[in-house]
């Protein structure tokens, strides 16, 4: 049971238990009243004669079941101040150091990309047996990361989970950046990335040769580009009122101009809010099946083939659960860093992290169940190739990768059953990073172990990534963190208007 700090004794009234107002709050209310009555009246203001502007604020009655989402008993003005003041001052040394490191990683990625494109895919460690390996692993990994943002902003919105308000803005930004990172890999893999627009069905000079709509690789293109577009629009729509707040507050001329253009003349009118909320709900309802469709379609790339270990109907739900799992792990890693570095402890509380841990626990358990089911169906199929793949995964040359995957995902996530670990921030940080590693290895295991033992033993091969491929992975992390750091400096990190709406969450 949560009690406001410094709360007085229980008093019984109207059959309900009420807590008396904490003394700190009482003082603040009195100060506020004085401040208002001393306020200078403006020239064209009508004096409300004989009516001192006093506030009879009813004693807040705190719920016994709900603890407040935002700590520190913030007023609306304090929320505005707390979030907007992160934008104006010059970035500190920590930010510049982080940006420099990310930039170096990004530069490594640029060099690797240039090397790949100018020399060819032969710079990678692929061979005729293992035709997909590192870059498709990275692609699926980043797409998976990109699932948490829209899960938080759309699905949790429809389920009326108010705690999403503190994390949705940065989680959605993370989604957009992760999808950009993901999109780079198939485009680079094309070999002639400047012709990537050939996957679009547009009238062309090749007799209008249309694309093959029966191919899951094409579905991927449609799914990911739609997902990116709708997520971007959803994120921007949520940002508009906050950009207006930043516009009305910032002192910098450049920022004011930027925010003025981007806030589209937002003035907080209720008619606008009403339509805005309607469209926001519609977008959430559209994005919910979209989130599920994207990773389902990514899994079709594997499931519609005839490769043992891929050809399985369990793939869509298994991939979606894994995507949400890895996405939440990445959100937790980032949020722990952001709350610490930007002093947002009041906004991103252990309660938010605990809720995310619960989602990770659920999806991690689904992933663990999928691993076990895969083993079962492999043996149950009676197909010698399927059985061989299952045994080869657990005991073959890539068994180390399989057990990293199994340990980090299925087993480590079970630690979140313990409340002590769910509420300990260092523990969450370590576990979330282990999950990120485990989920990267999951994709590696699925792709490489199924391919490296072909139907013909004479084709059997091993796969080792080349330095160029490692450079591309490092570069994608560089791109991710560079863009995320820039996001932190330009846009309000926390949804100001949504947080104001949940300040009274614990009150009746």
């Amino acid at each position: 049971m949560w009690r406001p700090s410094g709360a007085g004794k229980k008093t019984k009234g109207n059959g309900d238990y009420k807590y008396s107002v904490p003394t700190g709050l009482k003082d603040r209310l009195q100060k506020k009243q004085m401040a208002v009555s001393l306020k200078q009246l403006e020239p064209n203001e009508i004096n409300v004669a004989g009516q001192p502007a006093t506030f009879e604020i009813a004693h807040p009655v705190y719920s016994k079941l709900r603890s407040p989402l935002i700590l520190g008993r913030k007023s609306n003005a304090e929320v505005t101040r707390d979030i907007c003041q992160l934008l104006d001052p010059k970035p500190g040394r920590g930010w510049w150091i982080s940006l420099s490191i990310s930039f170096v990683l990004l530069a490594i990625g640029v060099v690797a990309t240039v090397h790949t494109v100018t020399t060819g895919i032969g710079t990678w460690g692929l061979n005729r047996t293992v035709g997909w390996a590192f870059d498709i692993t990275n692609f699926v990994f980043w797409i998976g990361i990109g699932h948490a943002g829209t899960f938080i902003s759309a699905i949790l919105f429809l389920f009326n989970q108010k705690w999403r308000t503190s994390v949705n803005r940065s989680a959605e930004a993370m989604t957009l950046i992760a999808v950009m990172c993901a999109g780079l890999f198939p485009i680079i893999h094309m070999g002639r990335p400047w012709l990537f627009y050939w996957v679009l069905p547009y009238p062309n000079t090749r007799g209008t040769l249309w694309v093959n709509f029966r191919s899951p690789l094409l579905w991927d293109f449609f799914a990911i580009s739609t997902y990116f577009t709708i997520s971007a629009v959803f994120w921007y729509l949520g940002l508009v009122p906050d950009l207006a707040t930043a516009r009305d507050r910032t002192k910098s001329k450049l920022r004011k101009a930027l925010y003025r253009v981007m806030s589209l003349g937002w003035n907080g009118s209720n008619r606008t809010w009403s339509r805005y909320e309607t469209v926001y709900t519609v977008l959430a309802a559209l994005a919910t099946p979209l989130v599920i469709s994207v990773h389902s379609i990514v899994s079709f790339d594997f499931a519609t083939s005839l490769i043992p270990g891929w050809h399985s109907t369990i793939f869509p739900p298994y991939f979606v659960a894994g995507a949400v799992f890895s996405g939440f792990a990445m959100v937790m890693t980032l949020m722990i860093l952001v709350r610490r570095l930007m002093h947002l402890e009041d906004y991103i509380t252990p309660q938010h992290l605990e809720n995310m841990c619960k989602v990770a626990l659920l999806t991690g358990s689904i992933v663990g169940l999928a691993y076990v089911t895969e083993i079962f169906t492999g043996f149950y199929s009676g197909n010698p190739n399927e059985i061989f793949v299952i045994i080869n995964r657990g005991l073959g040359p890539y068994a180390w990768a399989y057990w990293i995957m199994f340990g980090c995902n299925a087993l480590v996530s079970q630690l979140f059953w313990f409340r002590k670990l769910r509420t300990s921030i260092p523990a969450i940080f370590v576990i979330s990073i282990l999950i990120n590693i485990g989920m990267w290895f999951e994709r590696f295991v699925i792709i490489v172990t199924s391919l490296h033992r072909d139907f013909l033993p004479s084709s059997w091969a091993m796969y080792t990534p080349s330095i160029t491929e490692v450079g591309l992975l490092v570069g994608s992390f560089g791109l991710f963190f560079t863009m995320f750091l820039i996001f932190l400096r330009i846009f309000p990190v926390i949804s100001i208007n949504e947080v104001k709406g949940v300040l009274g969450y614990a009150k009746h």
């Binding site: 506030f55 009403s274 309607t278």
Partner: protein, 178 residues
């Protein structure tokens, strides 16, 4: 002396708490005042009912746009794959309808989302170079209720008395606020 008949005059009441705003708005409407609009830093739930704002019809636009996307997606795929240039891909039928569902679904979502948000911006006249005025602190922590002084019978004193029962901070009169 401004001509009351022709001048477009408004009264704006500033509140500090959303509960006061809702009560003030509802009471003003009951008392026969014409509520022009309400300006708030975040969506205040219950406000639409207090000022009798009908629900938005944008959901229908989104539905129609989604239907358009679905029809477009299916037509595009069936026409290109089965009529314009039929190609034999692994012996699959030219009109492989079930395989067209994923792309048709994505286009449904894409059309519905983009058109809904486009209509939202158009309907609210939100665009890049909008020069609309904004009430002081309304994007921060003030709640503003604007009444329209539709005719000479508008009683400012009555309005002020009404609002002062709801902890109004200040009441301002003006020609054109927004």
């Amino acid at each position: 002396m401004p001509n009351i008949e022709s001048a477009k005059r408004f009264t704006a009441a500033f509140f500090e708490r959303e509960d006061d705003l809702i009560a003030g708005a509802a009471e003003a409407r009951m008392a026969g005042f014409e509520v022009y609009d309400v300006y708030t830093p975040f969506p205040v739930h219950g406000m639409d009912r207090a000022v009798a704002l009908p629900p938005s019809r944008l959901t229908w636009i989104a539905l129609l746009a989604g239907a358009l996307g679905l029809v477009f997606g299916l037509t595009l795929q069936v026409w290109t794959s089965a009529y314009d240039w039929p190609l034999n891909v692994g012996g699959k039928p030219f009109n492989s309808f079930p395989l067209f569902i994923p792309v048709a679904f994505e286009l449904t979502v894409l059309f519905s989302g983009l058109i809904a948000i486009g209509v939202l911006f158009a309907r609210n006249r939100m665009w890049l170079f909008s020069k609309r005025r904004v009430f002081e602190r309304v994007t921060d922590d003030r709640f503003v209720l604007v009444l329209k002084q539709s005719d000479a019978s508008f009683d400012i004193d009555k309005a002020v008395r009404l609002f002062s029962r709801h902890n109004v901070i200040k009441v301002v009169e003006g020609d054109q606020f927004v």
